[in-house]
Symmetry: C2
């Protein structure tokens, strides 16, 4: 069994910019890339190590950054992805930002204000656990903003992400596509397994009841905001191991594309006295 | 060869609160705790794994936090410590904050403002790479504040740290005690090894020229601010492996003392429908 190449992974998972996007055509249990689970494990382990190495050069260079955006319904595995893909990565130069319901201080500004504020520093890898996409997902489904406001946001988000990408931020946007049935199993687990109790939130069931509305909102968001500078990848998320392996391939690919190298020195040894 | 117990490590490294502290009596090459380097390696590896496990429970509990304060002269190994001690720790729930020269926005407030702002969230492990102690170290040595202002800061820092500790933050303050000679070797390395070029800053040699003043400032800071609620530990830092192993023991010890357990559940499985 062979580990799929990075461009194969991208081609298989991308929502093609400018093309119609049909979420229902994406199988949350798709195993085309990693049929064999053990291959996914091996691939993840290798990629996690390379990610750690390249991240150190990115950190030394301090010119550009990576921003991994993780979106998905509850239990889709946003935290699990962070833990696995960055299992080999020390916290130095990493920034994880979880977006919760906005505070009154955040609501006093436009919805992208807190997001811009959380963009990773040059040299860092940032991870968004949820993101500005909530402002066209839950906000749309629950009607927290008017339809006209939501409608304007897709273009605003594209402009914002274009701005970031033109200023040295490589975005990797992943929709963790978990199936309705699999979510049911995972929510149950949170009341069955002691070390998962803390994750259970009855409100998650309210979102589950609106599944179709959420899927429609995801479909629109991906369709409207998958762009050349920041495409969306739809990750089959019913298998945790394969999900992690696929995202690790994407992150490694982004780092490799940056063509990183250790910075040179402006100084000469003989000009200094270390005695 | 035996791994030294956590209380042995603490007793050997602590600057006893309320007692006179003589920095020159602390050997930067001290190998009493880990004579054998391979034992240090084994100890570090074990502790790093346990730290990762316990940190997950801390994260789930979301009530308290850990704050590791790393201080030391250039090359003492602040970054190296973070990379090694937290080698097994995923970035989820970790916050690394490097304190640089304050911005004009930060200087517009008192010196603890930006520090308070960077205190880790409940459930998180925060690491300060440099800290508020710079305000009684470089600030004192370079005269960036008046002697009267600096003098008042020791008690202010103690009050601030007491406040944090009473509000669920466990502080682990480590002075990475590198020797003058060893620093010379390490600064040279930064111009000799390609992947270290980026770390070289000629200004580090200016601080080196003031070594005695810095050591005096460290001695006073440790003497005045090693308290029952937030003691200072003086880590012999000439050996990187042993330094990492010692700090890992301290971090693991702090997590173990918190007596962490997975939160219980307020909900019953039978009250919910997951179909």
């Amino acid at each position: 069994m062979r580990i799929p190449g990075i461009s194969d992974v991208r081609n298989h998972l991308i929502a093609e910019p400018g093309k119609a996007f049909d979420l229902s055509s994406r199988d949350s249990a798709d195993r085309n890339l990693f049929e064999d689970k053990s291959v996914a494990k091996t691939s993840l382990k290798k990629d996690a190590a390379v990610i750690n190495e390249l991240k150190d050069i990115l950190y030394a260079e301090k010119k550009r950054s990576i921003l991994v955006v993780l979106q998905g319904m509850d239990t889709a595995g946003k935290s699990g992805t962070i833990k696995s893909v960055f299992a080999e990565t020390t916290p130095l130069g990493m920034e994880v930002k979880a977006f919760k319901a906005p505070s009154s201080n955040e609501l006093a500004r436009d919805y992208l204000w807190r997001v811009h504020n959380a963009v990773p520093k040059k040299g860092h890898v940032g991870i968004f656990d949820r993101s500005h996409y909530e402002d066209v997902l839950v906000v749309k489904v629950r009607g927290y903003a008017s339809p006209e406001d939501v409608e304007r946001r897709y273009d605003q988000i594209n402009a914002f992400e274009k701005h970031l990408s033109e200023n040295g931020v490589t975005l990797i946007k992943c929709m963790l596509n978990v199936g309705y049935e699999e979510q049911g199993i995972r929510l149950r687990e949170r009341l069955e397994e002691e070390h998962k109790y803390w994750k259970f939130n009855p409100a998650d069931l309210d979102d589950r009841a609106l599944w179709k509305d959420f899927m429609a909102a995801y479909e629109t968001a991906v369709q409207r905001c998958s762009t050349e500078h920041a495409p969306w990848y739809i990750i089959p998320a019913d298998s945790r191991t394969r999900r992690n392996a696929m995202i690790a391939r994407l992150v490694r690919g982004a780092l490799e594309d940056m063509d990183l190298s250790w910075p040179g020195s402006d100084y000469r040894l003989e000009d200094f006295d270390f005695s």
